[in-house]
Symmetry: D2
Subunit: 147 residues, 4 copies
Amino acid sequence: MTLPTTGPEAVAFANRIIDAQSFSTLIGARFEDITPGHATLRVPLRDDLKQHHGFAHGGLMSTMADISLTFMGASVLGPNVLTSEFKINFVRPGTGETLISRASVVGATRRQAVTRCDIYAVQGGKEKLVATALGTIVVADVSAAGG
Amino acid sequence: MTLPTTGPEAVAFANRIIDAQSFSTLIGARFEDITPGHATLRVPLRDDLKQHHGFAHGGLMSTMADISLTFMGASVLGPNVLTSEFKINFVRPGTGETLISRASVVGATRRQAVTRCDIYAVQGGKEKLVATALGTIVVADVSAAGG
Amino acid sequence: MTLPTTGPEAVAFANRIIDAQSFSTLIGARFEDITPGHATLRVPLRDDLKQHHGFAHGGLMSTMADISLTFMGASVLGPNVLTSEFKINFVRPGTGETLISRASVVGATRRQAVTRCDIYAVQGGKEKLVATALGTIVVADVSAAGG
Amino acid sequence: MTLPTTGPEAVAFANRIIDAQSFSTLIGARFEDITPGHATLRVPLRDDLKQHHGFAHGGLMSTMADISLTFMGASVLGPNVLTSEFKINFVRPGTGETLISRASVVGATRRQAVTRCDIYAVQGGKEKLVATALGTIVVADVSAAGG
C-alpha cells in the first residue's frame, strides 16, 4: 500500500488516522499541511491541555511528537509501522493559542526511518520554538506480531 | 521548601499537583505509592486514551513518563523544577485495564536529577513491561525565568 | 547461533568481539563478568581518554555505552544485530582509575531489545555513578543489508 | 568571555580545545568550518576507529557527536559548559575515507542550549548520512562544582 504523500489527499488520509485514534482526537490534533518528507500537525492549546503553571503540558508536546514522528515514518515505510522510541527536548515553556509540530524525515532505510520534529507555540501570530524531538520508526514485523 | 517523600502525605501532595495539571487530570493519572526515590503512577486505560489498533497511545505513555520523571526530580531537587528532556522506548503494545509507571532517581547533583521509569500494562492481574523512559530534570533558574 | 550468556566462556566470547573491534581495543575495553541479562565492561582511565579538564571524555563513556548496550542486545537476539540508537546522560564528572559499565536487558521482543547501562568511576575502591544510557538493539535484516 | 563564533579564528580556537582533549586528539578530530550557529568536525576514518565488520565504530560517531554538540553549546553559552546528555541514531553503516559531523543550535535559553548534528560518511567524494544526534548543553554551576 502506498500512502499519499502530498496535498489535500495526504492531509485527509492523515486526519482519518487521527480520527481513528481516540487519544489524538481527545487532544484535538489535526494535520494541516503535508508534502513529501514533511508534515505539519496543529493542536489548539485548550485549557485542559496544560500543567499547573498554565503552560502546555510536557505530555501534550510529547504526544504531538509521537503522532508527528510516527506519521513521517509511515510516509516513507508504509502504514504498517511501529514507533520504536523517541526523545524530546523542552526548549522553553509553551504559551499561546496553538502548538504546531513540523516534522521531517532525517534518513530512512528499508525497515527503519529516523524522523524529527520541531514544536512551536504560536502567540499573536508569532512562533517560538518550544520543543524538538528525534525518533525511530520501524516496519512492524507482522509474523512476529502474530506469534 | 521540602517535599514529603514517603507515605500517604507524599501521595496526597503529588496528587494535588496532578489536580492542578488539567492535562494530567484529563488522562486520569493518580499517584498511589511513594517512597524515598520511588513513585508509582496509575492510569486506567480508558478507550479514549488509545490509538487506532486499540493499544495504549504512545502519547499517553509519554505523558505518564513526563509526569513520573518530573515528580521524581522534584522529590530530590524541590518543587521548583523543569523537565529538560526525556527519551522513551516502546517495548511492546500496551493492552489491559491499567497502565502503571514505576519511577526512580538514577542520580542527582545539586541542580540536576536523572530519573527513569518503567511502564507496565496490567491485564487480568498480570503486569507486562510496555515502555521505559530516561530523563533529565533541572532546577528552574528563577532569575532567568523572570528575565 | 546461540551465544554463551554466562561465565568465563561468555566473557571470552565477548572479549573476542572486542579484539575484533579496533576502536574497542584502542580504548582498552574488556568484559569481565557476564551472567544472563547482565554484563560488566571495564576501561582503565588512561590519560589519553580524557577531556581538557582531566575528566573521562564524554565520548569515552558513550563508546562504553555503545559496546555494553549492543552486547546485551546480542545476548538475547543473537550475534547478528545492529545498534539502532541510544541516549546517554552524564551525571557527574568521571575521575579515578577505572570506568565500569554495568549493562542489563530492560525488555526484548523477537526482533528488538531495549538495554540499559550504568557507568561508574572507581577511585580508591569507591564507585560513583557518572553516566547512564538506554538504547535499542535490532536484529540486522540480512536480506536488506545485502540489497 | 566571548568565544569567536566564525571564521579561521573560531576554527583555531575550537581546535585548541581539541588539542587539550587527549581523547579527541586520539581519534584525530579537527574542526574545519565554523559560522555562527554551525560547526563542522572532521575525522579521517582510520582502521583503528572501526568495529568488527569494518564500519565506523558507533562509539566513534558518538564521540564526534559529543564533541560537536558540546562545542555548539559553548558557542552560545560561553566556554564554561557541561554536556548534560545526548541521543544518537545510527541511520546506516559508516564506510569511506572520512566522517564529517555538521552541528547546529536548535534553541537556547540563558542556561541551556539544545544542539543537534548530522554525521556523514564521505566515500569517493560522495556524502551519506550515517547518524544524527540531539543533545543538551548546560552552563556549569561553578559554585556547585567547587562544593
